[in-house]
Symmetry: C2
Subunit: 109 residues, 2 copies
DNA sequence: AATATCAATCGCAATAATACGATTGATATT
DNA sequence: AATATCAATCGTATTATTGCGATTGATATT
């Protein structure tokens, strides 16, 4: 049915999946990397950096904003996008928790 | 067009996005958590653990296998799924690299 | 006031993902 | 040989995602 059965999973499992989904596109990875590299906000020149149309970039930014990873400071007619440090920290912790689990015994060798 | 323009991004950006996509569903998170918790392989009883039909679970396992996170040891008629430690380590490093980047200056406050 | 600039949104087309019933293929079990 | 068990795959329905041209709304600029 193309619709995820979120009800049957824990809130945390859904949150991890949602955060992962936000990272599940190379354009959004590129956006995040760019914003991190510039160590500050970057305005609409993201469109110039990315090989995608303005409408497409805007949509990716919207998704990252929706999940909370970015927040946009409106300064018309420009918009400045920044990493939301709180959510970024949350993501760091949440992914860290999964990956720090060691696979000590593995029956498949 | 519903198809990601992978050509215009770096291999690494695409790999990160692909790994994230593998984690972008609560069922797959639950599968990984279960396999990690049991610290060893788990067989078809994943179907009992998850509130999804056998066909659906099989499909999620296939995706995780495809990206490399799992490998299945066939022992008919059972199949034992394990975390592929090499790929798991790769994912740990690749996500670690992103998240260790500090947001030192942030113009949006 | 007219114009230029920027970013969000709409509308559309095409492809991907989610879910599951039913079937199939393979191997133990009897 | 007949049957039971397990997991993959097929087929199908439904929804989500990706992408962009075109439009819209808002604010500077002239």
């Amino acid at each position: 049915m193309g619709v995820t059965k979120t009800q049957v999973f824990t809130e945390k499992q859904n949150r991890i999946a949602d955060l992962a989904k936000a990272l599940a596109h190379p354009a959004r990875i590129a956006i995040i990397q760019h914003l991190l590299k510039e160590k500050s906000c970057v305005c609409g020149d993201l469109v110039e950096v990315l090989p995608l149309a303005q409408a497409t970039v805007s949509q990716h930014l919207k998704e990252l904003k929706q999940i909370g990873i970015l927040h946009g400071e409106i300064n018309p007619p420009r918009v400045c996008y920044c990493i939301n440090e709180t959510v970024w920290q949350e993501a760091k912790v949440i992914f860290g928790e999964i990956f720090e689990t060691e696979v000590s015994v593995n029956c498949c060798g």
